[in-house]
Amino acid sequence: MPDIIGGEAGPEKEIILKVENLSRTYMQGKVPVHALRSACLEVRKGELLAIMGPSGSGKSTLLALLGTLEKASGGKALLDGVELTEVPEKLQPRIRREKIGFVFQHYNLIPTLSALENVELALRFSGVSKKERKERAKALLEELGLGDRLTHKPTELSGGEQQRVSIARALANRPALILADEPTGEVDTKTRDSIVRVFKSLSEKGQTIIVVTHDPDVAKECSRVLRIVDGRISDRKDF
């Protein structure tokens, strides 16, 4: 069961992410759509935070804003000392490389590259040397139990294996925060449990992770759960 339910971070560890009144409004024709309304939250280092909510509630928008994939309409988000909403567009890729790791529902691996090369890819853009890239990517995949699948292409891997490659890629640059958007949405329950175990293990080692999920069984395993309804973060305990 989660320790804390709500928008405030638990005690003890330092706050790594602080979001204040973060909102995103876009125009659908002439009608403004409020995808996220004044979201506030704090996340401590090493937390495994679940965000739940119905489809279209704003979960993915929150992740996109935290991942600098979309521009906020208002508010602030301070991640590991960096004000995300004020990062110029030109510097956003650097923030994504150094501070954030993404895990997607559909794994989003490059189909023409092997598991090892997919993980290496994230390091390539950071200017890491070829030798170090290989070593780090290999170590990560071995840690995630994919030591014997290094040269396999995504199509030769199971859904669970692909998601673990995706997690390894997200971890490659040792980010401050991992954003996982429905990471278990495409896998069976056994694989789902193994992915959750990976997240929990990473969290125990100090990795901060925000997981957007529809699955209460995933949320149950997280250290804290937030619920978003109609673009607002609520503190309701039911999920």
């Binding site: 991942g67 650097r94 989003n108 490059i110 890819l121 994230a122 853009f125 640059n173």
Partner: protein, 371 residues
């Protein structure tokens, strides 16, 4: 990044191959047409080098209009500044082939044959000398085609001539020349004392262009072509020929370029999600540009190499086949190869610019939503 570019090109084998073939076809056309132009250019330059110091004096009615006879040579010689002058009779060697082989009979005064052909050197034997009549000096192509050597007999217009000299290879019109004494040529072709034109050698201290005008004014019924005018005229003809040949090659290459653009646009559309992923994991705009542009350049380069290789092969085959007819039509030069490869790369890069721009400007979120 290069390994990623190569991977992307090789992972879509059929499409990449077809695109590369499109470029190759264009570059092949550039090579073949360019080789024709290069051959023409080289022959022109070498011919210019051989005859550039002489003024040509024609009858006002032109080379084939008649009207120029031996006695006009002395009129030209009398013009101040003319160091030497002599008449030449020029006609086609193989009239039955309408002169298509480029072989020419050149009737020159025997005592002037070495200066008339200067700076062409002999490979064997001697030039014509006073007293020669049924004697002939042949160009290198004629020697090769008819298997001639000094002392051989050579039949011209049903008469046998003794080969006394063989010219060195020049790469100019003189390689196909059959040089016989002027009087013998006049008798052989029954033209009386007619000549085709007069070569006037200007005094070194005099401007050839100025002397050319002076000859025209002094010797009535003649017109002249100075070395400068000859070069300009020839360059104009060469330019027209080059424009026609090169532009047909370029047109084919541009079509190849459109092939690359089409492929790259399709590839970018198909890989929208992939670009979103790359951006999400930290790829910068320049990385996406480099990746996409690199693929286009890579296909351009491969197409260029293939086109050049096939072009060299085809030109070689055609030259071998044409050798039987003594017509050399194609010449591959390093300059042509550099131009063809450069153009292949340029076409690749140019065609990849727009798709690369589109890919680099994608919003990562929109790209990730793409199915």
């Amino acid at each position: 990044m290069f390994d990623l570019i190569v991977r992307n090109v090789t992972s879509r084998k059929v499409r990449s191959t077809l695109t590369i073939c499109g470029i190759a076809l264009g570059i092949f056309a550039v090579i073949v047409m360019g080789a024709m132009s290069e051959n023409f250019h080289q022959t022109f330059e070498r011919s210019m080098g051989v005859t550039s110091d002489k003024i040509r004096v024609f009858a006002e009615s032109g080379v084939f209009g008649g009207g120029l006879t031996d006695d006009r040579v002395s009129d030209v010689l009398r013009v101040a500044g003319v160091k030497d002058a002599y008449g030449l009779l020029m006609t086609t060697f193989d009239e039955d082939k309408m002169g298509m082989t480029g072989k020419q009979i050149l009737g020159v005064p025997p005592e002037k044959s070495s200066v008339a052909l200067s700076p062409v050197e002999l490979k064997a034997g001697r030039f014509l000398s006073p007293g020669d009549s049924y004697h002939v000096v042949v160009g290198s192509n004629i020697k090769r085609e008819y298997g001639l050597g000094v002392g051989s007999k050579f039949e011209i217009h049903d008469k046998y001539f003794n080969v006394v000299g063989v010219l060195d290879y020049t790469g100019s019109i003189f390689d196909n020349a059959v040089i016989i004494p002027l009087e013998t040529a006049q008798d052989l072709y029954n033209v009386g004392d007619s000549i085709s034109y007069i070569f006037a050698v200007p005094d070194e201290r005099l401007d050839a262009e100025l002397l050319s005008k002076r000859i025209e004014l002094s010797v009535k019924g003649t017109t002249t072509l100075s070395p400068g005018e000859l070069r300009t005229q020839a360059q104009q003809s060469f330019m027209i020929f080059s424009v026609i040949t090169i532009s047909s090659g370029l047109l084919a290459a541009i079509i190849g370029g459109l092939c690359v653009m089409n492929t790259m646009l399709m590839s970018v559309a198909e890989r929208t999600r992939e670009f979103g992923i790359l951006k999400a994991i930290g790829a910068e705009t320049k990385d996406i540009l480099l990746l996409t542009l690199g693929e286009a350049c890579c296909m351009g380069l491969l197409g260029g190499v293939l086109g050049v290789l096939v072009g060299i092969g085809a030109v070689g085959l055609m030259n071998t086949w044409l050798e039987k007819t003594r017509i050399v039509l194609f010449l591959i030069t390093p300059r042509l190869l550099i131009i063809a490869m450069g153009f292949a790369l340029f076409i690749g890069a140019l065609s990849g610019l727009y798709p690369a721009y589109r890919a680099s400007k994608m919003s990562p979120m929109e790209a990730l939503k793409h199915a």
